[in-house]
Structure formats: C-alpha cells, structure tokens
C-alpha cells in the first residue's frame, strides 16, 4: 500500500522538481540583476556573475546609475510620452468605439476594416516612411513625434467597441428620452460603465510605450528628449568594462521596476488585459 502510494506520487514530485528548476532558470536573470545591483564594487569572492548575495548591500550602484545616466530626465520624458499618448488615445478610441458600437451609417463596415488594417500594418514596420512624415510635420526630435503614429489605435477602438456593445441600452435610451445630447450620453452614461475596458486598454498601451525603443530611437536626436529605453541602450553599450556591471544592473532595474511592481500589485487586471489584447481577432 505504502509502496503503491509512493509509486503514484513519484511522477508528481518529479514534475514539481522539474518545474521548480525551470522556474529558477527563468527567474535567474532577474535574480542576478537584483543581487548585482546591491553588490558593492569588487565585493564577494565569487565574482560579479554569482547569484549569491555574499556581501553587505549598498545603494552606491543606484546612485551612480542615476548620476551618470541622467535617468531622472529619461523618466520624465517616458512619463510624458506614456501619459500624453494615453490621454489622446482615450479620446480617439472612445469616440470611434462608440460610433462603431451604437451608430448606423453608410460605409460602417468598410471603415471598420480600414481601422483593422492597422493591426497588420503595425507602426514598427513603417518606421522609414513615418519618420519622413514626422519630419514634414515638424515633429522631428520631439516627444509628440514619438507619440503621433499611435494616436489612433485600431486595437483600442476594437476593445471599446466590444465594451460598449456589451453594455445594456436601457440607460442611454432613458437619457435620450430626457433629451440628453450624444456627448452627455457618452460621458455620463457609457464611459463610467466602460471603465474596465478603458483600464484594460490603458495597461496594454502604457506597457507597450514604456518599453518601446526603435521608433523613439529614430525620432529623437537630442539627449534632452531621450526616453528610458534609449538611455538604457546607450548605457549598456557604454558599460563594456568589467567595473560597470553593478551600475548597469541598477540602471536596468530602474527601468524595469515600475511596470514589474505595478504587475505584481494588480496581477489579475494585467493578465485579463493582456489576454483581451490578444483576443481581438
């Protein structure tokens, strides 16, 4: 009997062991970043690559990263891009989503397909012609230039359309009978109920643009307008000497931390948003 139980539990135990090993492997780059960023320069006999925290932690690396990389400025620029973009997107996707969800008009289906085209022709594929457009608009080397290609969002429009479609029509009809104009219906009746959709969109948008690199790299020229990812890339290429690794780890941690903390805090919301962001087809 006991032997039978053991035989039955053994595969399960092996599976857990295997899973833990893979999870450790998956987490090791992060573990190293955290350990290395708190390691004093030259401390610990095992060398920089060690995952063991055999030292007294120091904040020196973070101080150096903040000073050498002008990370403060990059943070502000990234925040401006992310929030400015989100503010504009909330307006464009709410209006378009409402039109597609609630209004009937000639050409609606054709226009909807015209929107969906953006899901295939993603902006990163069009960096070269879009850079010329940004130059023509006088937005080269400016933060609005970084944001402009994303002001319209097919994904956001689709998400808001689905959200509005799922709402009951009773409230709007009551408001319409009372003589409320369309904008009052959208603002006071629909949007408060559509908040989960907007939050899902906000999470996906903020994550995507906090992490974006190639497009800002092309648009931005002067150091004063650089975003976090550009700063980090320059920092990485500059840190090839062996001494700088603790500082680089600290810098990387500074870039990753805000989203990671937000994710761990609001895990369910994040997961739901990302799954929805995929289930758009």
């Amino acid at each position: 009997m006991a032997r039978h139980q053991l035989a039955r539990r053994l595969p399960g135990a092996m599976l857990v062991a295997l899973l833990s090993a893979v999870a450790f492997l998956w987490a090791s780059p992060f573990l190293w970043t955290v350990v290395a960023s708190f390691r004093p320069e030259g401390a610990g006999s095992a060398g920089m690559a060690s995952l063991l925290p055999d030292f007294t932690p120091t904040l020196e690396n973070f101080r150096n990263a903040l000073e050498s990389g002008t990370f403060g400025l990059y943070y502000v620029n990234t925040l401006v891009v992310v929030t400015g973009l989100l503010a504009v997107q909330c307006v464009t996707v709410s209006l378009a989503g409402y039109a597609f969800a609630r209004l009937r008009f000639p050409g609606r289906d054709a226009l909807f397909y015209a929107f969906l085209l953006q899901l295939m022709l993603v902006p990163p594929a069009l960096i070269v012609p879009n850079l010329r457009t940004v130059v023509d608009l006088g937005l080269y080397d400016s933060l609005p230039g970084v944001m402009a290609p994303y002001f319209a969002s097919a994904f956001g429009t689709f998400l808001m359309r689905q959200t509005f479609l799922a709402l009951p029509r009773d409230f709007e009809e009551a408001a319409a009978i009372d003589g409320a104009p369309w904008w009052a219906i959208v603002w006071y009746v629909l949007l408060p109920m559509a908040k989960p959709g907007l939050i899902a969109f906000a999470i996906v948008s903020v994550t995507a643009h906090w992490n974006e690199f190639l497009w800002p790299l092309m648009v931005i020229n002067s150091p004063a307008n650089q975003t976090l990812t550009i700063g980090l890339a320059a920092f990485t290429r500059g840190a090839e000497g062996g001494k700088e690794w603790g500082v680089l780890a600290a810098g990387t941690l500074l870039v990753m931390a805000p989203l990671a903390v937000a994710f761990v805090t609001f895990q369910r919301r994040f997961v739901d948003s990302f799954v929805f962001s995929g289930v758009k087809g």
Binding site: W32, A152, T252
Partner: protein, 316 residues
C-alpha cells in the same frame, strides 16, 4: 385678414421652422458618426495609409545621399538591388530561422507552462508571475541583462558552466552561435506571454470529454494529444500569427546586443531596413525592403484569417 388666418399663418411658419430645425438636427446626426471617427481616421491616414503610398513611390526612385544629385526614377531598380544584396538575403534567411527557431520552442513552453500553472494554488500564482515577468520588461532591458549573461568568460552563463566543468562558445561573437543566442533570449522573453492565451484557452477544453477520456483509461499523453490539443487549435493558430508578426517587427535586442553581426549572422529584415535608412541613408533601398516586409505581413495576416475562418467553420 382675420385673426384666425393670421394665427394659422404664424403656426405654419412655426411648423416650417421646426421642420427645418429637425432636418438640420437630422443632418447633423447623419454626420455625427463621421465626425466621431475623424480624429482616428486623420492619424490612420497619416501613419498607416500614407506611409504605404510613400514607400510605393520612394521605392521607385533613387536619391543618392550627400551628392546633391536629384531624385532619379529607377523603376524596380531598388527592388532588384535589395533582392540582389547578399546582406538582405542573409537577413531574410536569418529572419526565417529566427521566426521558426523562436516560434516552436515558445509554443511548446507556453503550453507546458499553462498546463503546469492552470490550477489556482499559491505555487501556481508564483510560477505564473515568474514565467510572465520577462514579457513585461522592455526588450532593451532584456538585452542589457543578456549582454551580461552572454559575456565571454565572466558572464552568468560561462560562470556557471565553468562550475559544471563545461566551457561555452563565444555566445554573441561566434557567427555560428550568435543567432541562436538571440533566439534563446527571445524564447525566454515571449513564452510567458503566450502562456496567458493557453491558460485562457484551457478553460474552453470540454470538461466532460476530458472526464470521458479518463474513464476510458486514456493516459495523460493521450488526453493531451486527442482532447486538449485539438480543443486548443484556435488558440495555437492565433498565437502563431501574433507571434510571427511580433518576430518580424521587433529588433531592439539586435540593435543593443549585436548590431546585426558578427558578419551579418544576426541581421534581421527590420534591422536591415533601419540600417539602410538610419545609418546609410539609402531611402530607396529602405523603401523597397519595407514594402517587401509589408507584403509578407499582409499575406501572413490574410492567410491566417482564412485558415482561422476555415477552422471556425469546421468547429461550428
């Protein structure tokens, strides 16, 4: 004129005015949908439709940079030059190897992770976080981490390989290995993201079929092969498409880690475009290469749409 007649005339004027106001409101309401779509359409026109026209036109002209010479119409010359460029051929081939080399292990791992963490226990929640976290960090930050991991001799990988008595190749410096190192990074980064879709997809696996299979004595592998995988086919098709689009349109890690080297071993199509436009100022070439990659993206999306529609019909 009688009082009654005057009142009647006044009323008919009021009626006409009211009718006019209503028809104006109707017309305004007719235009409303287009007004609501206008802001989005403006930016879509500028940054999704116009660029297609632009690359179409640009790809037909050659404007030598810095020579002061004007644009010259070269017809399909840029396409011929791009397709004959060994660097572009290499980049296209690399991109194919990269896409398949990332896609297959990513799908397998994503499904394995999803199966491992689908139950809602505390351990599952922790593991889910660990597996998902890489997809939340910027690709640039992942590249920074792996720059150190791949560092010859003293990096994380070589440090621990040495403890096992092994020695690795120069992960990013060896042209036979570098692309696979970049593939490894990308698998680490993406698997957890696609895991989310499989976790969601697993909820749609019919419970009674699974139980029936168990009662009939199907083992775990048979249940996976004959019940779970067929039920997940739409998820797999969908994840494949978004993964391929992503693998054709992100090169941040290549820019940070290898700059396409050594000897073009890690050059990908978008990096080739970036280099042609941003570093060599060959806009005609960049435009032609962009149009080629846009054609691939469209073919991929439309083809997959057809496949998914057929799949949906088969299921329903």
């Amino acid at each position: 004129m009688s009082v009654a007649g005057a009142t009647g005339a006044l009323e008919s004027v009021q009626d006409r005015l009211r009718a006019k106001a209503t028809s104006m409101r109707r017309r305004r309401m007719r235009l409303l949908p287009y007004a609501l779509l206008a802001p989005s359409l403006l930016f879509l026109a500028l940054f999704t439709y116009l660029p297609i026209v632009r690359v179409l036109v640009d790809s037909l002209f050659d404007k030598p940079h810095g020579t002061g010479a004007g644009e010259a119409f070269v017809g399909l010359g840029n396409y011929a030059r791009v397709l004959a460029d060994p660097a572009f051929r290499q980049a296209a081939l690399n991109n194919l190897v990269y896409a398949l080399g990332v896609l297959i292990p990513t799908l397998v791992l994503a499904l394995a992770f999803a199966l491992a963490v689908q139950r809602s226990t505390r351990l599952s929640a922790v593991l889910r976080t660990i597996f998902f976290l890489p997809s939340l960090v910027p690709l640039v930050a992942a590249a920074s981490l792996f720059f150190f991991i791949f560092l010859p001799g003293v990096g994380l990988l070589d440090h621990y390989l040495a403890k096992l008595g092994l020695s690795g190749p120069n992960w990013l410096g060896n042209s036979d290995v570098a692309l696979w190192s970049v593939i490894g990074l990308t698998v680490w980064k993406n698997a957890g993201y696609y895991m989310l879709f499989y976790i969601a997809g697993l909820q749609n696996v019919p419970r009674d079929t699974l139980e029936a299979a168990m009662i009939d004595g199907a083992n775990a592998w048979q249940r996976l092969r004959f019940v779970i995988l067929p039920a997940l086919a739409p998820t797999t098709a969908f994840v494949t498409v978004i993964a391929l689009i992503q693998l054709l349109t992100s090169v941040d890690h290549v820019i940070v880690l290898t700059r396409g080297g050594p000897s073009n071993a890690t050059n990908l199509v978008l990096y080739y475009i970036f280099q042609a436009a941003h570093e060599n100022f060959e806009y005609g070439k960049a435009a032609a290469a962009t149009l080629i990659s846009v054609a691939v993206l469209l073919a991929l999306s439309l083809g997959s749409l057809r496949v998914m529609e057929r799949g949906a019909r088969g299921n329903g």
